[in-house]
Symmetry: C2
Subunit: 482 residues, 2 copies
């Protein structure tokens, strides 16, 4: 029988934690919720609690830009599941409760109420550290001051939303950092009719794809009215009384000229770092990227302490151990942890770093390794090609070109990675997933041509674009060997 | 150095075939052209000729409905490559030349000019039989008489196009058979503002997917104004002077009532049979479905005689030998044959029967086996589930539900097949291809959840819909075992 629904606040914690085996997840985002759901799915009698520092369990952080843009009507729509859904699944929620210390001997978590300020403690039998990551805040960039915002928590989201809706049409906004969130925020700010400038250190936006493909995304962003300052490094933000923020930056003209006038709002999207404070002094070790070291079962090595999500190292199927925080990975790791905390023996199969972003009408996706990622692998001789192929038969209306990068090992022919950039209607995301599935199985590039993929003229070609990409790589390899 | 471009007609055949090693493909559609292109790609000095009975080399037969619909401006647009493209690739073309006999001892093909009527012969060193398939013409259905058309060759296409463009708006047209071509023709005829009735023997259209999913396609066809007579078998077509064609059919009321009045045009889409006349008396054997028996290198067993495409048996990765003619498969088989005719040793990796069709705003796709397909496999205990999941996060605009059928082996957990039906914008085609890639590698259903698939809210979910489908199957399996 399911436990009755319950939402607890920090004041009634002590009434809660008595008796039966208790699984506790610290963190209410992807990994924590995935673990809790999996545990309850496998054992409907499991006693499962999720503790979170705010009152937004299971919110889609990835959706914040779409709320800012106005595509998502209400903040509450961003919940993957409502608190009520989670209760129905039999998960207890400890809202507004920040874990401040982990006593691994006593199996207790010391907590502070983020609203009440009250100290308390929560006992556990098995605990999952799913504390996620936090935005990097380089010196000189005063995130949190009025007019300087990050985009990570729902509190951030509210701050950005308030700031943006208060700005007049045409107000100048600068976005610092042209990764996924930075690009999505540009689109959101343009939708809000603001004057948007994007600052990027590299020569093209979206450094997660090769320059040739990133250039297509840069062009798309510019075509939609964003001023893009490339090759430009932000040294700091300086407040100008009554004028907003002046960006101090080094870079080439005319990029720096784009930054000459002050901005009313600065949106800082410079990536994240793992949130690992709870691990301090517990014996839980840190690994790649300063993230919590776990094995592929999400064990930390300290008895009864598990960890998953953006705060842990990433097992990568090609690179071995790395740190590559992604929501889809956090879900998988959380699900593994939830199963194993109940005594299961599930292993995280590993990441391939598969990721996709929609930027205006273009989608850019990648999986696996690019040439220079693969160069570090022993015994691998990477080679990359880029081919262009239509998403479907050119005779059927609205065919669009896809740019398909393929990276493989010249020596063995093994597929190492792929990148695709194309129109948002061109099934780019699921095409990169075909490569991801082939990578998962250790396929060669040549074997991609053997895949029996679907074909109908409005949606594909007898050789799908991904196979045209693979065949281009094979031809280049053949030519280089003969 | 490339050979000079050349397009030959049957009258100058004798001038052509002298001297060097000569690869001849009989048939100018997918398999024949793919073989020729592959041979020329691997050996730019290869002497390669493609012989075809009409003057439409490398035409996209799959595109005919879109030409009829008016989506494709001209008949010529349906050419995957123009004759000039093929010449540039160094391929000789023998147009309007029908192969009527194969002398495997003398290595000669006896031909008749389809325009000139002249008999001739063409020598070869290696020959590929790529004669394709032809529409089934059941007794009582006089395809070829005025007002009764099939949709297979470009001659058929012209006949249908002429007939359709001559009809007044609102004229009654019956489509017999609700497979891929029948459904696409319904859409084309509705686009031409005709009054369309579709007759289908089974209870739903598109019998290649399970009834529950086929029902979604039936509903879509009806929603766009097509009258659908299900459970109805056509016994014959009877000409009524001045009135067109009366359909003689058995089936339930009101389906048969839909057929009471005569039709001005009948479009017959009852599937195809392999065209194997050339094999008679040569020692080339027939196998499944009456198709030419070949091994996975496309060898017929008769020296120097190869075969590929719709006229040959299909090596299926799950079923073993079968006959399953598809354009994408013909391309792969042709490519294998082209390589091996030059002395290579490529193997056809096998079909999974992956296929997709767009019907108005719905796409239906499948790969691998359905439950009843798998029931014939020794030692396999098939089980199927259908789950419904959104194509992308519901909070982002325009999310639509996908119905995802998964078939697996209860005993081993192995993935056996998948079916998806959903909106045409929901990346159905490439989602079925993710399953196809997983099937190719022999994945379990559970392992689909391990795939590192791409996620961004406008295009997917942290667990992609295909993974939701796989997890639903796993839950059902788990429940049935406990």
């Amino acid at each position: 029988m399911d436990l009755p629904p319950r939402i607890l606040t920090d004041v009634d914690v002590s009434a809660h934690c008595v008796g039966m085996t208790h699984l506790l997840a610290i963190g209410g985002s992807d990994a924590g919720i995935a673990a809790a759901l999996r545990a309850r799915e496998l054992d409907p009698s499991a006693d499962v609690t999720v503790m979170l520092a705010d009152s937004y369990p299971n919110y889609s952080i990835c959706g914040i830009p779409y709320w800012i843009a106005g595509d998502v009507a209400t903040e509450a729509s961003l919940a993957h599941r409502t608190a009520r859904d989670l209760e129905t699944a039999g998960i207890g929620l400890l809202l507004n409760t920040r874990a401040v210390a982990l006593d691994v001997e006593a199996r207790r978590v010391e907590t502070i109420g983020t609203v009440s300020g009250a100290a308390n403690s929560v006992a556990y039998d098995e605990v999952l550290v799913a504390t996620g990551a936090h935005p990097r805040r380089p010196a000189g960039i005063p995130v949190g001051e009025p007019g300087v915002v990050a985009v990570h928590t729902m509190a951030d989201a509210n701050a950005v939303h308030d700031a943006v809706t208060a700005l007049p049409s045409g107000a100048r906004v600068v976005v610092v950092g042209a990764g996924y969130i930075g690009l999505e925020m540009c689109e959101a700010l343009i939708a809000r009719d603001l004057d948007v400038t994007l600052v990027q250190r590299g020569p093209e936006v979206l450094t997660t794809v090769d320059l040739e493909l990133g250039a297509l995304v840069t062009a798309e962003v510019r075509a939609h009215g964003v001023s893009v300052a490339t090759g430009t490094t932000v040294r700091g933000l300086e407040a100008r009384a009554g004028e907003g923020w002046r960006v101090e930056a080094t870079g080439p003209d005319p990029s720096t000229r784009l930054l000459r006038d002050p901005f009313e709002l600065a949106v800082v999207c410079l990536g994240v770092a793992p949130s690992t404070d709870l691990a301090a002094g517990t014996g839980v070790e840190l690994g790649h990227g300063g993230a919590i070291a776990v094995d592929d079962r999400m064990r930390t090595g300290v008895p009864h302490v598990w960890a998953a999500g953006d705060c842990v190292v990433t097992h990568h199927r090609l690179l071995g151990l790395t740190w590559l925080p992604l929501g889809s990975t956090a879900h998988k790791q959380g699900r593994v942890a939830g199963e194993n905390m109940l005594g299961g023996d599930r292993r995280f199969a590993g990441s391939l770093g598969t990721q996709v972003v929609k930027v205006f009408d273009v989608v850019a996706a990648r999986t696996g390794l690019r040439n220079h990622d693969a160069a570090s692998l022993a015994g691998v001789s990477p080679m990359s090609t880029v081919a262009v192929a239509d998403d479907h038969k050119a005779y059927y209306p609205d065919a669009v070109p896809l740019s398909i990068g393929v990276t493989g090992d010249q020596r063995t022919g093994r597929l190492l990675g792929a990148q695709i950039v194309g129109h948002r209607r061109a099934e780019v995301a699921k095409r990169i997933d075909i490569f991801a599935a082939a990578l998962h199985s250790g396929s060669t590039v040549d074997e991609v041509s053997d895949l029996d993929l679907s074909y109908t003229p409005p949606l594909g070609s007898p050789w799908d674009a991904v196979q045209i990409g693979a065949q281009a790589w094979e031809r280049t390899r053949h030519a280089s060997q003969s």
